[in-house]
């Protein structure tokens, strides 16, 4: 059993250890978990839509919020990124495959089965309802008694075991299998971002494994770590957030790597300040382990330590500034091709800037006291996470031809699908995190761009008006392009004509 059956057979996909196959498996499975987590998000919105309605019970709502967080952070974002990492890192470093092919397959199957365990936990008396941060003592059996809560914790434990295998694999591969003459500074930016990610993963996920084991011990064996009055709940905070802060960069860095690649390709030039970008990536990776208490500003930690953490938090924002400036200057100094992958990457940068700035405010202790428990926090992390996800989708468009051998299919210019898209564009705004009455928005006619005169026509959210202005601007630009005889819309070579860039 050492040779591969053909791709059309099921057996092939169960036994393959090939990095490209496993990359594809990760990507498709992650998209499924995106849908799962997305449905949970919709359930949250349904619940919040109207204060009078209670579609879900209180407990079920908490389960939805918890599972939404766990699934999106663990089972969607990172695996989606690692689908690309699996496929492209060996290609980028000139290796035949990852260092440990069976271990690679193991990481994938651990990921899948852990997700299945999480799904099963819903049916074991209800899944965990303690939030994705699973704070103590809410996470002990006295306060979250369902078997499914333990099931969710063990599912996460299994996920982390798989992640550890993947980490060892990527570290060994990147440090041991690079092509001759490819020094670390010569590696492509996506591989660099993955290298930084897996170094952080090595130490961060080990902490999560430990805290997960302690929680599992409390729940399965009956130990009393997290219900102890001698600092049990604070212990959870420290151990979890020591993992939790590097984790958010672990989630973001692969997306950053995709952005770095796409910005270079579609501006036609090497990254401005490439060496400094690499140094910043390394600095952030190290500093990410020095800021965790900024997630704990509302605990009994003394002010001196909290102030130190505020200082380190400001410190970690500095290399991020450099990264953002490097990206922007690369565009300024380049000749931009407005292809679909580029638009995703650029949009990702905009979202990330917004999210990142809100994060800096959260790093101030006194502001944190006010922001805690508000939508400021929710908005901050959703903007940065969506920034990451958007960049990864850009990567999907960018790498789709290479992974499948096919072109990305275009949306037809006419027909019912086009009409539906047009109506959606002009009617419904997908915003983060709130809408007004979406049903009213759907009543807006396509092609009519006047905003309603009063504020009580249903679709009243200011951001909807903003979208209308943006679409008006787009129509103006298109009209200008058409009058000049320039092509408009999706072009054959993948660029989008009729925007600001002068086309040939």
């Amino acid at each position: 059993m050492a040779e591969l059956p053909p791709t059309t057979s099921v057996r092939r996909w169960l036994v393959t250890t090939n990095h490209k196959d496993i990359g594809i498996l990760y990507t498709i499975t992650a998209l499924f978990f995106l849908l799962f987590g997305g449905v949970l998000a919709l359930l949250i919105r349904v619940q919040l839509w109207d204060p009078a309605n209670q579609v879900l019970s209180g407990l079920a709502y908490n389960e939805a919020v918890t599972a939404h967080g766990l699934i999106m952070v663990f089972w969607f974002l990172s695996p989606f990124a690692f689908g690309f990492a699996n496929y492209f890192v060996p290609l980028q470093i000139g290796a035949d495959d990852l260092a440990f092919p069976r271990l690679n397959a193991l990481s994938y199957w651990m990921y899948l089965f852990s997700g299945i365990l999480l799904g099963i936990s819903f049916f074991q008396g209800g899944t965990l309802d303690a939030g994705w941060t699973m704070y103590a003592p809410l996470n002990v059996p006295m306060y979250t008694p369902s078997i499914g809560s333990t099931g969710a914790v063990l599912a996460l434990f299994m996920f982390v075991v798989g992640v550890t295998a993947s980490t060892v694999n990527f570290l060994t591969s990147i440090h041991h299998s690079r092509a001759e003459g490819m020094g670390l500074m010569d590696m492509p930016m996506f591989t660099w971002s993955i290298l930084a990610t897996v170094w952080m993963m090595l130490f961060a996920f080990a902490a999560l494994l430990a805290v997960g084991l302690i929680l599992a011990s409390d729940r399965v064996l009956g130990s009393v770590y997290f219900s102890a009055t001698e600092g049990g709940s604070l212990l959870w905070g420290h151990l979890f957030w020591f993992f939790g802060h590097p984790e958010v960069y672990i989630v973001f860095f692969p997306a950053l790597g995709v952005m770095l690649e796409l910005f270079q390709t579609f501006s036609g030039r090497r990254l401005v300040g490439r060496k400094w970008v690499i140094i910043s990536i390394c600095l952030i990776s190290v500093q990410s382990f020095l800021v965790w208490m900024h997630h704990m500003f509302l605990t009994t930690i003394n002010l001196e330590i909290k102030t130190l953490m505020m200082a380190t938090t400001i410190g970690i924002s500095l290399p991020f500034d450099l990264l953002v400036f490097a990206l922007i200057y690369t565009l300024i100094k380049g000749r931009i091709q407005f292809t679909t992958p580029f638009l995703f990457a650029f949009g990702a940068l905009l979202l990330f800037i917004l999210g990142g700035i809100t994060g800096v405010f959260l790093g101030a202790i006194v502001l944190d006291y006010e922001f805690r428990g508000t939508y400021w926090v929710v908005a901050h992390f959703h903007y940065v996470m969506f920034g990451g996800a958007t960049a990864l989708f850009g990567g999907a468009y960018y790498w789709f031809p290479k992974m499948t051998g096919k072109d990305v299919r275009r949306v037809p210019r006419k027909g019912p699908l086009r009409r539906l898209l047009h109506q959606l564009q002009h009617g419904v705004l997908l915003d983060v995190p709130r809408v007004g009455d979406p049903a009213a928005c759907l009543r807006v006619q396509p092609g009519v761009h006047d905003h309603p005169p009063g504020r009580d026509r249903g679709c009243v959210h200011p951001r909807v008006q903003l979208l209308h202005h943006v679409l008006q601007l787009r129509e103006v630009l298109r009209l200008r392009a058409r009058r000049r005889g320039q092509p408009v819309g999706l072009l054959a070579d993948g660029r989008v004509g009729g925007l600001l860039a002068p086309t040939a």
Partner: protein, 313 residues
């Protein structure tokens, strides 16, 4: 083949006059032929990752409901020990999963899967480190963090309780004996490596056997220790017994328990190596013995930290 790092030599092959060989030369330099399986085709498929993951999934599914499904009665002595099984599904899944995990792990080890390192590569800063050894060191680094977190948790809880208010739960003498036992087993595992390197099958079996016996002795002493604590002093995971608080008991049992789990896992691997050595393996390639030795030393070093923390202060 100790520490062999395949390096195909210079990219341009030269003849004895220093001129480039006209047909490109043999793409294997001389010393790659020293690598045991240099001309073997790389493997691409294995069912064991899938099956092992499934086994772990079953085990964890069983554990999720294990606590509510079972009631353990410790009684006054070991003879009175009993378990009530209220719902058989979860305990059965646990046992089936555990057995399946061991079986799939064994088969994984037995599989003839060949994943060679790159012949030519840039490896800074890890030049000269063999591929699997590098992977093993990365894994051990993460395990250091795991135990670091457990030890940090112990220190944190004890600090919050008032450092001086805790007296050691276990007795010092069994702990000291166990320390010597484990340190000696680290020595015997080195003897195993040397025996393998010298192609001494009997020596390898003897040393691996000694390591296994010493490891088992460690577990036996620990089991006796725990029995004393549970049955004589009446302290266990969540039961306080003067002068120990419940959380102090938890910290002691869970941390040393995690270490014991690592010892058990190591003994499972040692048995696997013994079985393979018995059938003639590790005479040409002693690296698996070395990697096991690295893991075993790690387990030993963790104990060197746990012993003072829980037994001495």
């Amino acid at each position: 083949m100790k520490d062999y790092v395949p390096d195909g030599g210079p990219a341009v092959k030269a003849d004895e006059n220093g001129n480039a060989v006209t047909d490109g030369g043999d793409h294997h330099s001389d010393h790659i032929r020293n690598y045991p399986y240099w001309d073997k085709h790389a493997s691409h498929a294995s069912i064991w990752p899938f099956l092992l993951s499934a086994a772990l999934g079953v085990l964890l599914l069983g554990l999720s409901g294990f606590n509510p499904a079972t009631e353990f009665h410790f009684g006054n002595s070991l003879a009175d020990f009993s378990v009530d099984i209220l719902n058989p599904i979860y305990p059965v899944l646990t046992v089936v999963g555990l057995v399946a995990l061991m079986w799939t792990g064994w088969k994984w080890g037995m599989e003839d899967f060949y994943a060679p390192p790159s012949e030519f590569a840039e490896r800074w800063p890890f030049e000269g480190v063999e591929k699997v050894k590098l992977g093993m060191w990365f894994f051990l680094a993460s395990d250091v963090i795991v135990f670091g977190a457990f030890i940090s948790a112990a220190v944190f809880i004890r600090w919050n309780a008032g450092w001086g208010t805790w007296t050691p739960i276990p007795d010092q003498l069994p702990g000291l004996i166990n320390t010597f036992v484990l340190l000696t087993s680290s020595f015997t595992v080195i003897l195993a490596l040397v025996a393998s390197h010298r192609k001494n099958r009997k020596g390898l079996l003897a040393a691996l056997g000694a390591t296994t016996i010493l490891g088992t002795t460690f577990l036996a002493v620990k089991a006796w220790e725990w029995w004393t604590k549970i049955y004589v002093d009446g302290v266990f995971l969540s039961t306080a017994a003067e002068p120990y608080s419940a959380v102090q008991a938890s910290v002691y049992f869970v941390t040393t328990g995690l270490h014991a789990v690592h010892v058990i896992g190591g003994l499972f691997i040692a048995l696997f190596l013994f079985y393979r050595a018995y059938h003639g393996a590790y005479m040409e390639d002693e690296r698996p013995v070395e990697f096991f030795g690295l893991y075993w030393h790690f387990v030993d070093i963790v104990w060197v930290f746990l012993f003072p923390l829980f037994y001495l202060f």
